[in-house]
């Protein structure tokens, strides 16, 4: 399995089709992050699409190809924030003085929203590893190949990421 860095280099060298592998790899994480920020499936799908196109166009500015996942997440957050701002600027109905414009698509459940908020607290390298493992179902070896990190490092990052999430979930549930 090719690493993110290898694929980034291939795309930079003109093999644009290889970018499709990165899209497959990160689309769930990008979509989940976008849904977390926009609270709306339609808007999040647009954000995902815009993010990947922007990522492809800006791939030349990525200094460390191995950090593609974290870099893409940062783009996702910015794109989602812009999208949300655009929606909030839409005219407000006068039917109710408290009315706010609402989206028209599905949102994440409260549990998943909470999980994504906690994911956002993780260091970027752990976020990508945890998502590849549990959102995409990749094995540790596959993640090691993708991220270009030793298996031991991936195992530790996974373990730490999960431990952090468990602790935070425990605290949230104890409230």
């Amino acid at each position: 399995m090719q690493s993110d860095a290898e694929i980034v280099r291939q795309v930079r060298n003109g093999n644009r089709q290889a970018y499709g592998v990165l899209i497959e790899r990160y689309q769930r994480l990008v979509q989940a992050t976008a849904m977390r920020f926009t609270g709306d499936r339609h808007a999040a799908e647009d954000v995902s699409q815009e993010t990947f196109i922007f990522g492809l166009r800006q791939l030349g500015s990525l200094r460390t190809p191995a950090k593609f996942g974290g870099w893409l997440l940062a783009i996702t957050r910015r794109t989602a924030a812009r999208s949300k701002t655009r929606r909030l600027r839409a005219p407000v109905s006068i039917g109710d003085p408290d009315a706010l414009p609402a989206g028209d698509g599905e949102a994440l459940s409260a549990q998943s929203q909470e999980l994504m908020e906690l994911m956002d607290r993780l260091p970027q390298h752990e976020q990508a590893v945890v998502a590849l493992r549990y959102l995409n179902g990749h094995s540790v070896q596959e993640i090691a190949d993708m991220t270009g990190r030793p298996v031991g490092t991936v195992t530790k990052q996974l373990s730490r990421g999960c431990q952090r999430l468990r602790n935070w979930l425990d605290k949230e549930d104890a409230r």
Partner: protein, 558 residues
């Protein structure tokens, strides 16, 4: 929950909610190709024509002939199956499962023993009705879920709960088959051990099979080798927590949907829960229903009661609403935010609604009381007059109101038919503020639009009256409408469609309206208001002084 929290299960749920878009790579690469061709190697991307929808994506893929997807990798099996499913008229699924999917999770897991412990029958139908609306009916043991366009209704018989999710987008028939989609996604999941089961003849058809093994689960899918339509699917295994998973599904196609399925209506349930994109307003409805349940157990002591909000909760949207049984009315004392939850806001938004005797101009509230923060609701029997329930509200905070005689300056609005400007929106007198040669948009001063939305004459008068009365001194000017100009019908989604259509097709062509409501506050805005109404609408005001009753709020006297 404790440390046994199963991260994997949480992520599995998240993955189901997020879903996947096998065609996303194709769409992105195609769009990128078009952009690169149109703008060779620009540094920054312009506005991308996003707004992906399944149908348009498929159409785009077919238009470009040999798609990038096919060029890039062999077409996945899941995509071929989904394409085949998109061509059929109806899908009927029967079988059994021990995994009951609930859109609204069990609030008390002990209350439903069937979940995960025994096989329950499963039946599902997917079709498009005569109006072109995608519909489905899914029954798994005690749970029946129906979808009509973007609305879902899930009735959980074992706990007598109805979950209504409104405002979602209308999934097409293929996307609705969520359980099937899960299986299909698994076909492409990395780390999956796949075994080709070859082909076998069944009746007149040749079926092809595939077995997937992943983390202790075995999934088998058999599909028609010619049409790619799935015929049977099954799953057997254990989860990471050691729970047994078992499902068996059989598919048939293009069968007529039984009348009892097409006309199924979820029964009235003891408990109702709401969700969806319109959840802001639904959350308020749910809150009112919770108040109703509480009152069923513990009725009001009198006819009116002030109830504090649990944890001081605020709602994005809240309004005066009757409980579903119609016995009580709930009026929120606070708005969507802290700074809209003062006594002054309560009187402005909930009490002074502009009807007879309910002008904001009739209220006098001392400055030191206006900022009192409220985090409550008032509940009263529907027959209680407003004077009574507001007295109880004020009394709850150690206040009261008394009526005193006063005078009111009234602008009687009459229409001069000769200078009538019958149709077409008019603009506020001041489009924006210019200071030092710089446009300052977004600031509000006399004459500048304050709502950022079109308004009818009725709203213009209401806004004028309210802004003039914002000092709560009980003697501000009010406009009394004697123009005789027609008023548009109230907005009705069923009749008028979208809010935008209503304005464009109903209000704008026939009724006086403005593109925004000008901010007319204080004496300095009065001349500007007179001139604007005269020039734009042919409305003139005759000033009268009338005796009136002023409601004076004060601390409760012993």
């Amino acid at each position: 929950m404790n440390r046994q929290i199963d991260i994997e299960e949480r992520f599995a749920q998240l993955a189901r909610e997020v879903g996947s878009r096998p065609e996303l790579a194709q769409i992105v690469l195609q769009q990128a190709d078009e952009l690169f061709r149109a703008q060779p190697a620009p540094r920054l991307l312009g506005r991308v024509p996003v707004g992906w929808r399944w149908a348009s994506a498929c159409a785009a893929a077919s238009l470009i002939g040999v798609s990038i997807w096919l060029f890039w990798t062999p077409r996945p099996l899941s995509a071929q199956i989904l394409t085949a499913l998109a061509r059929v008229e109806t899908v009927h699924v029967t079988g059994s499962t021990n995994r009951i999917v609930r859109k609204w999770p069990l609030e008390d897991p002990a209350g439903a023993r069937a979940d995960g412990t025994e096989l329950v029958p499963l039946e599902a139908w997917y079709w498009t009705d005569g109006h072109g609306v995608a519909r489905s009916y899914e029954r798994q043991g005690p749970v029946t879920l129906t979808r009509t366009g973007g609305e879902q209704r899930e009735y959980q018989k074992d706990v007598d709960l109805l979950y209504v999710r409104q405002g979602g987008y209308s999934k097409d028939r293929v996307q609705q088959i969520s359980r099937l989609a899960e299986y299909l996604e698994a076909l492409e999941r990395p780390g999956m051990i796949k075994r080709n089961l070859g082909t076998r003849k069944e009746g007149d058809s040749v079926l092809a099979g595939l077995e997937l093994r992943h983390r202790g689960r075995v999934q088998t899918v058999w599909w028609n080798a010619e049409t790619f339509l799935p015929v049977r699917m099954s799953e057997l295994g254990t989860t990471g927590e050691g729970k047994t998973v078992e499902s068996h599904l059989a598919f048939t196609y293009n069968q007529p949907v039984p009348a009892q399925v097409a006309s199924y209506q979820a029964p009235k349930a003891r408990q109702v829960r709401y969700g969806g994109s319109d959840k802001a307003s639904l959350a308020w409805r749910q809150h009112v229903e919770e108040i109703e349940r509480r009152l069923a157990e513990q009725p009001l002591a009198g006819r009116v009661e002030v109830l504090p909000r649990k944890n001081g909760r605020l709602f994005s949207i809240s309004w005066t609403l009757a409980t579903p049984d119609g016995k009580y009315v709930v009026t929120p004392l606070c708005g969507r935010a802290e700074d809209l939850s003062t006594l002054a806001d309560f009187i402005r938004l909930r009490v002074a609604t502009g009807g007879p005797g309910r002008y904001l101009a009739s209220w006098r509230v001392p400055e030191e009381l206006r900022e009192l923060t409220l985090r409550h609701d008032v509940v009263y029997e529907a027959t209680v007059p407003w004077q009574e329930w507001i007295q109880v509200v004020l009394g709850h905070f150690g206040l009261e109101y008394v009526d005193v005689a006063g005078t009111q300056t009234v602008w009687v609005a009459r229409h001069d038919e000769h200078s009538h400007k019958p149709t077409g929106p008019v603009s506020p007198p001041v489009p924006y503020i210019v200071e030092g040669g710089i446009e300052k948009r977004g600031y509000v001063k006399p004459g500048v639009g304050m709502r950022l939305a079109p308004v009818t004459l009725e709203t213009l008068f209401h806004d004028f009256n309210e802004r003039q009365a914002m000092d709560f001194d009980g003697d501000s000017i009010i406009i009394e409408d004697q123009t005789g100009l027609p008023r548009p019908p109230a907005f009705d989604k069923e009749v008028h469609g979208t809010w935008e259509d209503y304005w464009k097709n109903v209000v704008e062509p026939k009724y006086p309206m403005a593109t925004d409501s000008p901010y007319f506050r204080g004496p300095e805005s009065l001349d500007m208001a007179r001139k604007w109404y005269h020039d734009q609408f042919g409305i003139a005001f005759t000033e009268e002084t009338r005796p009136t009753t002023v409601h004076v709020v004060r601390r409760k006297q012993p």
